[in-house]
Symmetry: C2
Subunit: 269 residues, 2 copies
């Protein structure tokens, strides 16, 4: 991922200063607010890797931000059609700007943006554009920190980072409603949230598979990536972890490098 400021057209339309960042070694580019809001990176790339190679069908990216995870799925899975769902008008505007970039012309026809809150329920959710039983896959990278975890200085970043109590319950309720029977969900979160996630899956998605992400082989996990299938039965499977960095602590491991750059998937299809 790297930034430049070459798109003057996009600059003119965006709600403030922004950057254009390359992902998948230039496979696609994202317009992102500069110095404010949530900036996509590793988490979005790892989340997208939870979608198996060859996935075909409709995928909703809940809380898509600038759209990094959804774009990454579109780039790796040529038969995927993506809906980026984002409640922040600023971030949704960035996603629309990304769709207009000529660099993304090969992907844009398969990606749409919906400005909507992932926590809506019932008829409000349907009216907002999220139809029941419409998606084969739902991915989510929900706001990250517990309310007291960290004071974030700007409002846009706070919106993306502050997790309210019961959030996974509401987000997974939406995922279960909009997924087709047998559809899958993928979540990336902190290990601290695993209890809440497993509880919220109950009665909605079953046979969860989880994978811990460790920065180094001997360090505690910093993320958990979890997939589950709507209506399936069966308890948790724990897959071998993903280790991000080798013994030198800097370079990515070959597996992490492949996942981050859209050359591999985390789970078999």
């Amino acid at each position: 991922m790297c930034s430049d400021d070459r798109s003057e057209a996009a600059q003119a339309k965006a709600p403030g200063p922004f950057t254009i960042d390359a992902f998948h070694r230039g496979g696609f580019h994202l317009v992102q607010p500069a110095g404010r809001g949530h900036r996509a990176g590793l988490d979005a790339m790892l989340l997208s890797a939870a979608v198996p190679d060859g996935f075909a069908g409709r995928l909703a990216d809940l809380g898509a931000g600038a759209g990094a995870a959804g774009f990454a799925v579109a780039a790796r899975c040529p038969d995927a059609r993506i809906l980026l769902v984002e409640k922040s008008p600023d971030m949704a505007a960035c996603a629309r700007q990304s769709l207009a970039l000529s660099d993304n012309a090969a992907l844009s026809p398969r990606i749409e943006v919906l400005e909507a809150d992932a926590e809506l329920s019932g008829p409000q959710r349907t009216r907002a554009g999220l139809a029941d039983r419409a998606f084969n896959f739902v991915i989510m990278n929900p706001p990250f920190n517990a309310p007291r975890d960290r004071a974030t200085p700007d409002a846009l970043r706070r919106e993306a980072h502050v997790m309210a109590d019961g959030m996974f319950e509401r987000w997974l309720r939406t995922a279960a409603a909009i997924a087709v029977p047998g559809g899958e969900v993928a979540v990336i979160a902190r290990p601290q949230s695993l209890a809440e996630i497993l509880h919220a899956l109950k009665g909605r998605f079953g046979a969860p598979r989880a994978l811990a992400v460790h920065p180094r082989a001997e360090a505690e996990a910093i993320r958990i990536i979890l997939t589950a299938r709507k209506g399936a039965r069966g308890g948790l499977t724990l897959l071998p972890p993903l280790v991000l960095h080798g013994p030198d602590g800097h370079a990515f491991t070959p597996r992490a490098e492949a996942l981050i750059n859209g050359r591999a998937a985390l789970f078999a299809g």
Copy 2:
């Protein structure tokens, strides 16, 4: 672990055919029923390794069976005093036989057997000999398989292997009652049980630390070992996993070998 049949005295008193098995490379021996009941092995050794080196105080081993995990803690931690809690009269008899073996004379003064059901509650539990706020550490390796998982041919083995719904709720309720404030609990279970365990910990034990046990580096986890502290706050920490076997698939890894033989602990104290 290996068996012999040298103790004719023990043979005479046990309720049926049994073996005497060496653990910790001969550090202690256990009388176990031959060909029936639950036979202790890897799980009990890994559970015992969840107790930190240098642990001093009272420890209850709930559902102790023949006492393998409790004996292993006693062998590694010279200031630990152990209560083996087992509801099966046959298994409790085996544990008492083990205490009488001359090979265990150095450990036996610090180990007692209580024939009681770990699922008792309230005054019944106290009357059975499990006092509230009396233990610094509680360990448990509860019955293992979900009711429909496997048909076990004999009644004694079934008792040890068949897990009833809500079992972790009842076992952790007991653990929370008998642990001192700030006391710890350790559980070994299948990954499928993690959701139920995390749910049952809530409001009782906090700041859980979990570690997955993988038979080989590239295989799914077969066990999860989890510790938590009574009254502590904080979400789950996922530690680097334990891999049992090296690439050849047979020999234990050096770390697994050390844990199984009482030469290392899983967590720092």
